[in-house]
């Protein structure tokens, strides 16, 4: 539907039949699905605007119940189990995610709008791998070199975003459980469904009741989780704005906090870079997951001598991107997650034009229903433009140029954020020179958007603090 021209693809839809959607979902507290005490909200398929299910809106009383259940499970069961036994439950969860992978992938694409190719090949396998990796740590904590006697913290309150719903759940839940904590998790308002399926997976794994509790809801529910006095640890992934509020909310308490927030990553392309690969990396960096990626390479910094060639090649490549039905296996760019997010992307793109940058999108027919946005690049962007400073969280790339490596460093670091950066050059010593100078928690060289459970992820500056993944990710959940 998206592209006319040389590539005509027959539809290749993934079947929805693997998913068994219920009309309504309750909260998962103390090992059981229970009614919420407040009302409910609807979660929609952003590609069609069809209502998928009614989900309970957790309120303070629900959060209170969930924290109490988590505390009981912590005191009576989970903190007393030897690491070796905790590990077995987490391995079971990893295996069940692998077994139910296709079901989770389809559900994720339905609720989030991301292409099935991505949920199938990236989100779900990585989520399983994350549980597998941290399961292995559960009985090896003294080897992690974090302190002589690492101990769990207690109850972890976790609030996650909508861009990688199950994967972010895995990043939060797996290390928390491995370290001996119990959790109360609040999934994003627009993408609660895979978290609720995960609750079922916990049941299948015979995870002791109360070790994982899932309270669905909106911002107020999340604030209740973060602010609950029974919570010992707060982990949040989301916007810098909310991260700041959380940091203020927990000020003066003993709560340990990790925040994984926004980004405005620079992707640096030098004249000696393999340009064909670089263009693939630029596309992957900004259009992967509709650009709903905190570490997206949203600022392309190209060396002046190759800027024209890179942008020309990029435009050609963008013409082949297929925007449309997330469940179609040929789709590259799916739906924007919500009407609200679409409005934000539109506003910032309009600001880009108004401030004088040049906007370009390939010819692209968008579906009539649902929330879609064509892949877009802005050239002639200055560092002062809003589209060069603010996180758009959509498929919108700002192109800037530089002349020298020093200027590249200067411009790359000229941001309040510091989550990730990309470097494209054939010269190894330059990669490392730049990597040392990037004020960013992850630097990708001649690749972009790579994730692995063994590799720590997290930001400098206003992109948050703490690391998720790898040996370092354990520290967030340990008293060391």
């Amino acid at each position: 539907m998206a592209n006319s021209g040389i590539f005509e693809y027959a539809p290749a839809p993934e079947s929805r039949s693997v998913v068994d959607l219920k009309a309504s979902y309750g909260l998962f507290v103390d090992g059981e699905f229970t009614e919420g005490s407040a009302g409910s909200f609807k979660t929609v398929n952003p590609a069609t605007e069809e209502v998928l299910a009614e989900v309970a809106m957790g309120d303070d009383a629900d959060v209170d119940r969930a924290v109490a259940a988590a505390r009981r499970a912590y005191d009576q069961v989970w903190s007393r189990l030897p690491g070796r036994e905790r590990a077995k439950y987490i391995f079971r969860i990893a295996r069940i995610i692998q077994e139910r992978a296709r079901e989770l992938a389809v559900l994720e694409s339905l609720d989030n709008g991301k292409p099935i190719r991505e949920s199938r090949d990236v989100d779900i396998p990585l989520a399983a791998a994350h549980f597998f990796y941290y399961a292995g740590w559960a009985d090896k904590l003294p080897y992690a070199n974090l302190g002589p006697d690492p101990k769990p913290l207690g109850v972890a309150g976790q609030v996650i975003p909508w861009n990688f719903p199950l994967l972010m759940l895995a990043w939060k839940v797996a290390p928390a459980l491995a370290c001996g904590n119990t959790v109360v998790l609040k999934p994003a308002e627009t993408t609660p469904l895979t978290a609720l399926l995960f609750a079922e997976i916990c049941q299948q794994a015979d995870l002791p009741p109360g070790v994982v509790n899932i309270v669905t809801g909106a911002g107020a529910t999340g604030a209740a989780v973060v602010g609950h006095p029974g919570v010992d640890k707060v982990a949040f992934t989301g916007s810098t704005e909310v991260g700041r509020l959380i940091a203020k909310q927990v000020a003066g308490t003993a709560k340990k906090v990790t925040l994984e927030l926004g980004g405005k990553a620079a992707n640096l392309v030098f004249e000696d870079a393999p340009l064909e690969q670089a263009v693939e990396g630029i596309v992957d960096g900004i259009f992967f997951n509709q650009g709903h990626v905190c570490c997206a390479g949203s600022r392309l910094l190209v060396q002046e001598s190759v800027a024209e060639e890179v942008v020309d090649r990029l435009r050609e490549r963008m013409k082949t991107l297929r925007v449309g039905d997330p469940l179609d296996k040929n789709t590259d760019i799916g739906a924007i997650n919500s009407a609200e997010q679409l409005a934000k992307i539109r506003t910032l793109s309009e600001a880009g034009e108004a401030e004088g940058a040049t906007r370009w999108s390939p010819p692209c027919e968008l579906p009539e229903r649902g929330f879609f946005f064509a892949p877009t690049i802005f050239t002639g962007v200055s560092q002062a433009h809003r589209i060069a400073r603010e996180e758009i969280f959509g498929p919108v790339l700002s192109v800037l140029t530089f002349r020298t490596p020093a200027e590249a460093v200067e411009k790359a670091n000229n941001t309040a954020y510091g989550l990730s950066a990309g470097v494209w050059t054939d010269k190894g010593s330059r990669i490392l020179w730049l990597a040392q100078r990037m004020r960013a928690g992850v630097v990708w060289a001649n690749t972009f958007n790579r994730f692995d459970p063994t590799s720590p992820f997290g930001g400098y500056k206003e992109s948050g603090y703490g690391r998720e993944g790898g040996r370092h990710g354990l520290e967030a959940y340990l008293d060391v």
Partner: protein, 302 residues
């Protein structure tokens, strides 16, 4: 059916059924061959009752096993650590499912109470899980980024040493064998294991577990027979990189001779422990000796 016919049928159903017995063979290169020597030896229970005729591996079998291990090693080392971890975990799954079978075999060859045999199986399963979890953490615990005094990026990381010959202890049969094989393969080595004497019975069953766990053929090779006969060939084999002497008596003349033979190509040798407690937390004591540390330097500059 007449009354008589029904009675006969019922009687036949109650008659003891003759069992179909398993042939115990070697496990080399993912296949289960007999010993090329055509020899076998009798495995008996502690009380002397016949249990099985196990294949008695020869020098030639040992050499075939080393060749199989060498062929498999590079591919196994190249597999991602995640993948190796999944395979080791799969072995634990398969072992757990055969819990009863292993417990019975342990009772038959070692004697002792059924509860102790089950405890040994459980410990063996847990040990596979323990090592499965190590695969992608070894470089994080044993590697390092080194702050050299100069504009260089400098990283040290562990790599497998190659082919490891392990001499399993006679008892505990299953736990001993597991405790010497798993730590050697988790880091990417391939193994030739000697399962001595009565250990052959659970060893061959463990081979069946490994053959059905997506472990590439040749990564683990099992030789049943006599340690005294096979060990000198393995210790002297120039395509073996390391040697675990777990199954040899500490301080014995054999232990010394094997170490001397191993010195010819500077094999990494793990000496036998005195009264080693196979139930104790193994740590990384049997992992580290079979890993090399590689340090890479790279300049940093525009």
């Amino acid at each position: 059916m007449s009354k008589t016919a029904a009675k006969n049928a019922a009687a036949a159903a109650e008659a003891p059924r003759s069992s179909v017995r398993k042939t115990y063979k070697l496990y080399i290169g993912g296949a289960f061959p007999r010993s090329e020597s055509g020899r076998s030896y009798t495995v008996t229970a502690p009380g002397g009752e016949f249990i099985a005729n196990a294949a008695q591996a020869s020098r030639k079998d040992a050499r075939d096993a080393v060749r199989a291990a060498r062929s498999a090693q590079a591919g196994w080392a190249k597999a991602t650590a995640y993948n190796r971890g999944q395979v080791l975990y799969r072995i634990a799954e398969m072992l757990e499912e055969r819990r009863d079978q292993f417990a019975q075999q342990i009772v038959s060859v070692e004697g002792g109470a059924s509860a102790a045999a089950y405890a040994q199986v459980d410990a063996a399963v847990d040990r596979w899980v323990w090592y499965a979890g190590w695969s992608d953490k070894l470089s994080q615990v044993l590697g390092s980024a080194n702050s050299v005094a100069g504009p260089y990026w400098n990283i040290s990381s562990p790599e497998p040493t190659g082919v490891v010959a392990v001499l399993a202890p006679a008892t505990p049969t299953l736990l001993g064998l597991t405790s010497v094989i798993a730590p050697a393969i988790v880091g990417g080595n391939a193994v030739v294991a000697v399962a001595p004497d009565a250990c052959a019975v659970p060893a061959v069953t463990l081979g069946e577990v490994m053959a059905t766990s997506d472990l590439p053929g040749g990564v683990v090779n099992l030789l049943t027979g006599s340690t005294a006969e096979l060990a000198p060939w393995l210790a002297a084999h120039l395509d073996v990189n390391a040697l675990d002497l777990a199954g040899v008596e500490a301080g014995s003349e054999l232990a010394r001779e094997l170490e001397v033979a191993a010195a010819e190509n500077l094999k990494r040798v793990v000496r036998p422990g005195r009264d080693h407690d196979w139930n104790a937390d193994p740590g990384l004591a049997r992992v580290k000796p079979f890993l090399e540390t590689k340090t890479v330097w790279h300049p940093v500059g525009i």
